[in-house]
């Protein structure tokens, strides 16, 4: 069983999709590198930290992207973002069956400032355009850098998010919260607290991700297959009704849990029998235990 967490972006693509099926667009040999990093005397990567292309998933032709967390924390620069947008737009033109985004990113690449911010907003628009065209978009989050910032929003713009416990999903990262609001608000060095708050299990209970899987590439593969299958026969586009449901779920969350300081208290308030046992559970045992307590369809 090979770890998803420990694999590089390309290893994930090669092992998650059908063997030998990945065809990359703008591969490293094309040398489309960041125009900004060189000016700042910083190293570039030949793929700007993201591999995009098409592949077969259990025989189904899909479009796919994988961010490389090792290169600048998977941060989105101008080229990186343009590759994601181009992939999503091409998926629309080619009427793809689905798009699978293997996200691992700290968000905007600060070196590229406005270009990076614009790139992330364009990715959001492209995800919603793909959904409006009837193409399901699925996000996988299981890398050690998590999925933060604007790309955390991108993940929640998709039809489904599949996470491992080790994966993290949030807007501001732990250090950002501690810096802005103080260590009393959030201790970024308390790793157990960080994972309790942003990790896959809490996201699953809160309704922010639709599936929780073990940290293996095979498990993420099955999660992606299941998530795409679940979109069949359902409206793929973002609807006003779905947004209103989401809004109601968020209002319920604040009403029920807004005054609580630690996810352990939240889990207890949800009726989870042994909240303290949650962090030690294997993914499948946890999913079974959480199913009757978790919020929201999405």
């Amino acid at each position: 069983m090979s770890s998803y967490l420990e694999a590089t972006a390309r290893e994930r693509l090669q092992r998650l999709f059908d063997a030998g099926s990945v065809e990359e667009f703008l591969p490293p040999a094309a040398r489309v590198v960041s125009p900004h990093l060189g000016q700042l005397n910083a190293p570039v990567a030949f793929d700007d930290g993201v591999a995009v292309g098409r592949a077969l998933l259990d025989g189904l032709p899909v479009y796919a992207a994988a961010q490389e967390g090792g290169f600048m924390g998977g941060a989105v620069g101008e080229v990186h973002g343009a590759k994601l947008v181009g992939l999503l737009r091409r998926a629309v033109v080619e009427k793809a069956n689905a798009v699978v985004l293997l996200l691992e990113t700290g968000g905007v690449r600060l070196h590229e400032a406005n270009a990076g911010l614009i790139a992330v907003s364009e990715v959001m628009r492209a995800v919603l355009d793909a959904r409006a065209a009837g193409i399901p978009v699925v996000a996988l989050v299981g890398g050690s850098n998590g999925c933060f910032g604007g790309m955390g929003i991108v993940a929640r713009c998709t039809n489904a998010v599949v996470m491992s416990e080790e994966g993290r999903l949030a807007m501001s990262g732990p250090e950002v919260i501690e810096t802005a609001a103080g260590v009393e608000e959030f201790d970024a060095r308390d790793r157990a607290l960080v994972w309790r708050t942003t990790g896959g299990k809490h996201r699953y209970l809160m309704g922010d991700c639709q599936a929780i899987v073990a940290d293996s590439i095979a498990a993420f593969r099955q999660g992606a297959i299941d998530a795409i299958a679940a979109c069949r026969g359902e409206p793929v586009e973002l609807t006003l009704e779905a947004l209103e449901q989401e809004q109601a779920m968020l209002a319920e969350r604040i009403a029920r849990f807004g005054g609580l300081a630690d996810p352990l208290e939240v889990w207890a308030a949800m009726g989870v029998v042994q909240p303290a046992a949650i962090p030690m559970m294997e993914a499948d045992v946890f999913a079974e235990a959480a199913r009757c307590h978790r919020l929201g369809g999405r």
Binding site: T8, R10, P27, P28, A29, R31, G38, N41, A42, P43, V44, A45, F46, D47, E68, G70, F71
Partner: protein, 104 residues
């Protein structure tokens, strides 16, 4: 950043496949892009490294690599973020093995 280029002649092993990339540009690591190219039989290596001032060490590591592999008509490009010589050697071997399907 510093850019270093090396060119080695008289190799005899051709690369049988299109480009491959191994490694990731992260702290203490590097990526190696290896591809066949018409270079009059030479093996050219271009390095962009964040660690400035280690040209002599790079030259020795690249010379050893060429002695091990004897590549011809091969273009290698490296983006480096401060990898140690041992890591650089291993990555280069990984790149050549990925291309040629076995150890030197």
């Amino acid at each position: 950043m510093e850019t270093l280029t090396y060119r080695f002649e008289n190799g005899n092993r051709r690369l049988p496949k299109p480009a491959e990339v191994v490694g990731v540009v992260s702290s203490g690591n590097l990526e190696v892009l290896i591809e066949p190219a018409p270079l009059d039989g030479a093996c050219s290596i271009e390095i962009k490294t964040a660690a400035v001032g280690f040209g002599a060490t790079w030259q020795a590591v690249m010379r050893d690599f060429h002695e091990r592999w004897q590549l011809t008509d091969a273009r290698i490009a490296i983006n480096d973020m401060g990898a140690t010589p041992a890591v650089v050697s291993l990555r280069l071997d990984q790149a050549a093995e990925t291309m040629l399907g076995g150890p030197a």
